[in-house]
């Protein structure tokens, strides 16, 4: 807690401001995702597209911070990060398109409400979107097999390479932001594809308590699954990641196309 920050001699003001901006962007995005109840107070201030773009803003500053000192590690991290983002972001937008076309809205609360309602049914598009979203979540959160959050001093690292020059409170804030991002993705998957237990608008305290309990359960399940998955698989080469994310992108496009072609249920 009391550690002092060691800044490189040529660190600019951007380097010192970036951690807080990264945290704030991620925090605002995460605050807009329903966790245990729909009908958030400020849900209308930004929709799902804006949430993705807010994460983009955070990433923009993270990549810039990586390049600020002028070390080759920072550059390699930033370069790989944006390469991964150029495929992950459109894939994510395609998933948003699928959900928005189904629910007739890009508001996350409305989408979650729609997924809770009984007229969803089983759809190929939803399955494609779920797979695609999980793949994107793995890549965006720098998890195995795309990146390894535990590694250092390895030419394969992405996220860690960017934050190599950070120390003390700055590093803490950035790491907090990256944990928050993981939480955001888990909540997003949970509220869209496993919305059971979400307290609807105007529900009583019991429903909210139930919502909190199920949310904790969902987080636990997601944590276990992530740990299982990471122990079972090895990290892939950096240039395999585009193929991995390209598949996610293609599944997203396919899902949207299927929705356009099948006319039923669109709003």
């Amino acid at each position: 807690m009391r550690k002092e920050v060691v800044l490189a001699h040529n660190a600019s003001w951007l380097f010192r401001v970036a951690p807080y901006l990264i945290f704030a962007g991620t925090w605002v995005a995460a605050a807009l995702v329903p966790t245990f109840a729909t009908g958030l107070m400020f849900s209308w201030s930004a929709d799902l597209i804006a949430i993705i773009a807010l994460l983009g803003t955070a990433r923009f500053f993270l990549a810039l911070a990586g390049m600020d000192i002028g070390t080759s590690f920072g550059g390699i991290g930033a370069s790989r990060e944006v390469m991964i983002a150029t495929l992950a972001e459109p894939a994510l937008l395609m998933i948003v398109f699928s959900l928005a076309l189904l629910a007739g809205s890009t508001q996350l609360s409305t989408i979650a409400g729609y997924m809770l309602s009984s007229n969803v049914g089983l759809r190929v598009t939803l399955a494609l979107s779920l797979f695609s979203l999980i793949m994107v979540a793995i890549a965006e959160n720098a998890r195995i097999p795309v990146d390894n959050p535990a590694t250092h001093l390895e030419l394969t690292m992405v996220h860690e390479a960017m934050v190599l020059e950070y120390s003390a409170r700055h590093l803490a804030v950035i790491e907090l932001a990256s944990f928050l991002k993981l939480l955001l993705y888990v909540s997003l998957i949970a509220c869209v594809f496993a919305p059971w237990g979400l307290a609807p608008v105007g529900a009583g305290a019991a429903a909210h308590l139930l919502g909190i309990a199920t949310y904790a359960g969902k987080l636990a399940v997601a944590g276990v699954l992530l740990a299982l998955f990471e122990t079972a698989i090895a990290k892939m080469r950096v240039f395999r990641a585009p193929a991995f994310l390209g598949a996610a992108f293609m599944m997203g496009i396919l899902g949207v196309l299927l929705l356009f072609v099948s006319r039923g249920g669109l709003r």
Binding site: H9, A46, A53, M67, L93
Partner: protein, 671 residues
Amino acid sequence: MTPLQILLAGAGALLGLAPAVVALGRSPGARALTYGGALTLCGLTGAVALLSLLGLASPTGDAVLPLGLPWVGARFHLDALSAAFLVVVNLGGAVASFYALGYGRHETEPQRVQPFYLAFLAGMNLVVLAADAFSFLIAWEVMSLASWALVVARHREAGNVRAGYVYLLMASFGALSLLLAFGLLAGPQGAYAFDAMRAHRAAGAVAALVLALAILGAGSKAGLVPLHVWLPLAHPAAPSHVSALMSGVMTKVAVYAFIRIVFDLAGPPDWWWSLPVLVLGGATTVMGVLQALMQQDLKRVLAFSTVENVGVVFIGLGLALAFRAAQLPAAAALSMTAALFHVFNHAAFKSLLFFGAGAVQEATGERDIERLGGLIQRMPQTALAFLGGSLAISALPPLNGFVSEWLTFQAILMSPRLEAWALKLLVPAVGALMALSAALAAACFVRVFGIVFLGRPRSAAAGGARETDLFCRTALLALAGICLVVGVLPGFVIDALAPAAEAAVGGRLPAQVSQPWLSIVPIAESRSSYNGILVLAFIAGSAGMCAAAIHQFASRQTRRGPAWDCGAPDPSPATQYTAASFAQPIRRVFATTLLAAREDVDMPQPGELRASRFQATIGDPIWRTLYAPIAWSVDLAAERLNRLQFLTIRLYLSLVFFALIGLLLVLALWT
């Protein structure tokens, strides 16, 4: 005076200042007169146009001057659409003139720039006001030729003359296409006034031909792929304030020409009109931004990024055509508003970025980003403004670029209501292309800002840079302020653009300013809404609270030390990541097929003493497959025809004789 008279007088005064500036020659007074006069006149006309767009001054007007074709006269007309574009033109013109008050001092041959600058501004104003084909084309040519003169103003620098040549060819081609389009619209009676064209609509094959010619004519000026080849050559060659006008404003005049011809004059669209527009728009966004990512020259990066943004505008226009043909006025208004909003936004942030590039070039003498770096230390205010422009052009909230792309995405999400199958398949694909290009644009501007302003200086010139002068800084920060304010309060812009969108597509969005908390709600709140001001407040609030809490309860000490770099820092700035290495992963993923990018590695065997080589090349498949064959056949034809120059008088006479016989035969057979 009516607003239209003031606007015409302003354009006329700009044109009239040009000879006065020529008379003053190289004196500093000429500079003050040029840019001061342009600032005043653009500010005045922009303000009048804004007032009439907002409905505070009389929104329409007609004027006929006794010039031009004797039976038509030079007609001018002001409506909401022209007013919206006049605001863009004159805002860009005023800020560029203000910037040039400082920047123009560095010009070595100002007499080659200043008169043409004024004529260029006057031409763009008159194109937007013209209401008959003749004055439209004259103004269009004034705009083209003046900008050509500005491109070759520094004719001694390598490449500029070629850029001017390619630009002149493409501009002539575009003007020819527009001339033919107007000819078809006017019909055999020669009804060249726009009112007369509206009275009898083109139909069927003629309408299709008009659409094709409008795409060729306006698209070649706007930079639609594959007609964009001149743009990355010509825009960087001009002085920076002119580059900003060419990229930020002149491409928008071309967009205006497209809207005027296709939405207004050509009549109600068929559904398939949107197909070529959407396909070209989608291709343009991705090709433009990919090329931008591969460039080393700062201004070329920005020029290619203009190509991308023009693609985004055309996607909005294509959607507007599709929705209008399908009788969905609300969705058509949404798409049109998105396109017009992006026109405005791009004019703001692209001017800002070109001004920043100009400031960097004056401070360091470099446009090659591989020789820059660390400028955030030496040019902090320029860096701050450039950062704002980079965020805005990367479509990141809470700045303005995000809002217009968000509106376009919302328009794409309306498209299941379209009936045509081709559109059902095409629109999602275009949406995917646009999502891809937005992400690539962010990568592109991380690269530009990171290499130019962050890191360590890569050359002595970059290390000794000084902050730019007060005029330039003010212009930069003012534009950054516009980007922020428009981003957090987009409702006002949408409402201001509503009459222009209504003039083009016949529908309008619900009023936005009356929404609670100044949100924007294009269709219905349950469907989608966005509130820039709250997002900004949330970000600022949580960042501030986080920083305050940490400084209060944890530590606030800071120590400066050498960079860590995993314990092995290298003092040479050459060990930093370069722009080429930054783009290498993306080059390998996307550009191998699209841009024929290749990497050749020549690694000597162990024991061999020669140096190893690595060479990365990228090609332009469009140039190779489309333009190179045309250039080759023109050369071939010229060479063959060259022989005709050295014949005897008898042969010439017999040639004339046989040509006459042939023509008479044709005439005889025709009737």
